[in-house]
Amino acid sequence: MNVNKEETTPWICDKCSEELELRKVTVRYLGGNFEVELMQCPKCKTVIIEEDLALGKMLEVEKGLEDK
């Protein structure tokens, strides 16, 4: 479910005024933990999931796990 490494995002963290960085984070679904690279605020650690990702690859993975 990795995002494209070259991907940039126009979004910045509003609380910390920091630009987001691609970092390894853990996502959890149906009892399984997976490590993926997602855009994150380096300071407060908030992760952004943009619409394309949520309704694209992420939904695909969710459905795949649900059908298992």
Partner: protein
């Protein structure tokens, strides 16, 4: 359902009671309008309910025309087994298949059947419309309430019942937020398709504004915030104007991001 899971329980459906004791005749029609009955799947094996619906309609002056597949062979309206949520396209196909079986208006006795048929443009009466509606034409095409409106209606009903039947006042069921939302039609459609409630959007924005938990896009001055409610994370993109918040997009995912 009662027969299957609570075999010892004696029960009688409202429709049978109405059939037995009669219904108000204020809505009785003079001409013999023909209606086609679509039986609810949950009554497939309950002949008494099926007959009482037909009897009530006949007593109000309607003539019943049966579909090829009715009673114990009734078809799915497009909601059964929650196919509406699990596979929207399949559900739409079921609805279209069923409503094209007759040119006559339909008579149903399940609110889901009614909502789905009307949503695809079929004139459909609920049996209660025939008995109580002040405007039958309007009732047969009354649009499906949005997911948020259904949610709100249930809350308002709960408040009313608690107050009128149990003398309990509840004040914490409807939140008052400091912001005013403007949700354009395209976003309303997203909410419908993506099963997102107004309540979810309000909670996300409220949290974002109070705790500054949001992202900012300097290119278009939009904000993007997220809020997790039980098993779903809701995302809202919005623009802050002088006296209102304009919602640009909403979406959700079920996967949980562990932010640490």
């Amino acid at each position: 359902m009662f027969e299957k899971y609570m075999g010892d329980m004696n029960f009688i459906s409202l429709w049978e009671v109405m059939d037995k004791y009669g219904v108000p005749e204020g809505n009785k029609i003079k001409e013999n309008k023909i209606l086609t009955v679509h039986d609810a799947c949950s009554t497939r094996y309950n002949k008494e309910i099926q007959e009482s619906i037909r009897n009530v309609a006949t007593s109000l002056g309607y003539k019943i025309k049966e579909l090829k597949f009715s009673k114990e062979k009734t078809k799915c309206c497009g909601y059964g087994g929650l196919v509406y949520f699990a596979n929207r396209e399949q559900s739409k196909d079921f609805v279209k298949d069923r409503i094209n079986e007759s040119n006559h208006d339909y008579l149903v006795y399940c609110s889901m059947c009614k909502d789905l048929f009307i949503d695809e443009g079929k004139k459909t009466f609920h049996i209660l419309d025939l008995i109580y509606s002040n405007d039958l034409e309007k009732a047969a095409l009354r649009k499906v309430p949005t997911l948020s409106r259904r949610h709100e209606n249930r809350t308002l009903l709960k408040i009313k019942l608690l107050k009128e039947l149990w003398n309990e006042e509840v004040n914490d069921l409807i939140e008052d937020y400091e912001f005013k939302l403007n949700i354009p039609d395209n976003v309303q459609n997203q909410m419908k398709d993506r099963l997102i409630l107004l309540d979810d959007i309000e909670k996300a924005i409220d949290n974002a504004e109070k705790n500054k938990e949001k992202f900012f896009n300097p290119q278009n001055s939009h904000y993007l915030c997220r809020f997790r409610i039980s098993n779903v994370t809701y995302w809202v993109e919005y623009e802050k104007n002088k006296d209102e918040i304009l919602v640009k997009s909403v979406y959700s995912h079920r996967m949980e991001v562990v932010e640490e």
